[in-house]
């Protein structure tokens, strides 16, 4: 086909195109804007060397890598930060909330996670400068001290604890609470739309939806005061969401909450090397999917993650300890990869539920990396194909 000419049909479309092209166009960009762009581009180009796909995944924003283990912490906090970034139309201006954010010395909130088919989990999160975090979620209490490079996980029911060294995480030297917020804030500069008003906990509230990487986060604030009331965000790859309530900036928090010494009477349980989660790859995704599908009698489960039914099956399998450990490692690494992947994509979806392992014709999972012209398509026999994006119907709000 000769692409160098096109028909100038005297129809309304051609007329409209001419009208648009003939519309006044100011001189631009200004030299200052070009200089700003050049500086930004140079800075971005120097930020890191050319990377392969796997390297890019490995070097994702440092704190999003924690998502594998503390996803349920990151997402609610991200939503909290979102409201500080977005601000409101009432009394809170961007400058004011930014100042508030940068000057915050502590933060707390409660949260609830709901995933269809799984028990609801509730938890509390606390942050205190410099770089300390405590998250009470399900059966665990997680205490992270970034300056000390230590992560302590307590299991009160069994009176056990795990100590994890996070000093070998890439970029750990640069991590602090402010970095944490700055990175999340940058990640949340997505499209914002208004959701209107509704009653939230008896208060007239205004809603905003932030959409980044196709993931939505809803923020409800007091329509009169702009104070945050409720935040909701989705969990990737599942029909689940997290609700955040009771957000408090600068609450008085006792240092004892962040004590890294295990309570008396607790027994130490060997911890996996956390750094092993940082380099999860597509191979780990495939390995984990194969493992959970095998557990599920050769049929892909509802979501690409362990659920209570699969956990029961794993227990009932009575695997030798080494094999059990290997299976758990596969599942954890699959989760590490799957949980950060959406942050790099414009579109992503899982549709494996009920597909038989070995089905080479049915796609079970696909995603499109930002600015990529193709989708990465994973089939039921766990082989990959790269498919032209024009042939795939986007499934996310900003997909395609």
């Amino acid at each position: 086909m000769n692409g160098n000419t096109h028909q100038q049909e005297p129809d309304i479309v051609s007329h409209a195109v001419r009208a648009l092209r003939d519309a006044p166009m100011p001189d631009g960009p200004t030299p200052e804007q070009l200089a700003r762009t050049t500086a930004a581009v140079r800075s971005a180009a120097l930020a890191s060397p050319p990377l392969t796909l796997k390297e890019r995944i490995r070097t994702m924003p440092r704190l999003t890598k924690y998502a594998a283990a503390i996803l349920l912490v990151l997402l609610p906090l991200a939503v909290v930060i979102a409201v500080l970034v977005v601000g409101t139309e009432s009394s809170v201006t961007f400058a004011a909330v930014k100042k508030q954010l940068l000057e915050a010395r502590s933060l707390s909130f409660s949260m609830t996670t709901q995933i269809e088919g799984m028990p609801e989990q509730t938890g509390k999160a606390y942050y205190k400068m410099p770089g300390r975090m405590r998250v009470e979620m399900g059966p665990t209490v997680n205490i992270v001290n970034y300056p000390a490079r230590r992560w302590l996980m307590l299991l009160p029911e069994g009176k056990k604890f795990m100590r994890m060294d996070i000093s070998d995480m890439p970029g750990i030297d640069e991590i602090g609470l402010e970095d944490f917020m700055a990175e999340l804030r940058k990640a949340l500069e997505g499209a914002v739309e208004e959701l209107g008003e509704r009653q939230v906990d008896g208060v007239r509230a205004k809603g905003y939806r932030v959409c980044e990487s196709g993931m939505w986060q809803d923020i409800w604030v007091d329509a009169e005061t702009g104070q945050p009331l409720r935040f909701e965000t989705e969990l990737p790859w599942s029909n689940g969401h997290v609700t955040v309530l009771e957000v408090i900036l600068n609450p008085p928090l006792d240092d004892a909450l962040f004590n890294m010494t295990p309570p008396t009477g607790y027994e130490e349980h060997p911890a996996p090397p956390v750094s092993r989660l940082m380099d999860a790859t597509e191979d780990d995704l495939v390995g984990g999917l194969r493992a959970i599908t095998t557990l599920n009698d050769g049929v892909f489960p509802k979501y690409p993650m362990m659920d209570p039914q699969l956990t029961d099956k794993l227990r009932q399998a009575n695997l030798p300890e080494e094999q059990l450990h290997e299976t758990v490692q596969k599942v954890v690494r699959m989760g590490a990869y799957a949980s950060v992947l959406p942050t790099r994509c414009t579109d992503w979806n899982y549709a494996g539920h009920g597909v038989t392992l070995g089905d080479a014709r049915t796609p079970i999972m696909w995603w499109r990396l930002k600015d990529s012209p193709t989708y990465r398509m994973l089939y039921g026999d766990l082989h990959f194909e790269d498919v032209d994006a024009a042939e795939v119907e986007p499934t996310r709000p900003t997909g395609g």
Binding site: A16, L20, G28, V41
Partner: protein, 170 residues
């Protein structure tokens, strides 16, 4: 080593104009231009760039269309779709000017309602004058498929501009 200063200097004005033509707002065009260059940095890390003009034009167009869609969603709530794409009048005669400005604004509104690929292909071809081959390269599709996208885009736009198709948020 990529000479980014040269690339920004050489292609910045065209990228900015591409964005401005769709967004009709200087601040938005500035943001869109910067986003396009930053995205191009990422692309250049993955693969060698053969055609900077086409790459930057495609990214700027895609980002500008995204912003148009965002405006459409916001203004739909205010029940004032004209806000999406107000175009200043220009050209000979006040009545003709006003008519053209309105038509151009309706075109932008309609483009924002097309499927992404169709919208991108249409803008790259008819507003940025890219060839079918360039569009095909940038969108990662066969050249023949560009024609299909353009045909579908024009058909849909014609219907939207003629008022045959109800304006819906997409």
């Amino acid at each position: 080593m990529i000479d980014w200063q040269r690339i920004v200097t050489e292609h910045g004005p065209a990228v900015w104009q591409t964005a401005y033509r769709l967004l009709r707002n200087e601040a938005d065009a500035n943001d869109c231009m910067q986003e396009a260059f930053l995205a191009a940095v990422e692309v250049s890390r993955r693969e060698p760039v053969r055609n900077w003009r086409a790459l930057l034009g495609r990214i700027a167009t895609a980002r500008a269309i995204d912003r148009l869609r965002q405006r459409l969603r916001e203004t739909a709530r205010r029940d004032d779709p004209a806000d999406v794409a107000a175009v200043p009048a220009g050209g000979p005669g006040p009545e003709t000017c006003a008519g053209n400005a309105e038509l151009a604004a309706r075109l932008l509104l309609s483009v924002s309602q097309l499927p992404s690929r169709q919208a991108e292909a249409f803008c790259l071809r008819f507003l940025s004058d890219m060839t079918y081959d360039e569009i095909a390269d940038e969108l990662g599709i066969e050249t023949n498929h560009v024609g299909v996208l353009l045909h579908r885009a024009r058909s849909k736009l014609r219907a939207l501009l003629d008022g045959v198709v109800e304006v819906k948020e997409t």
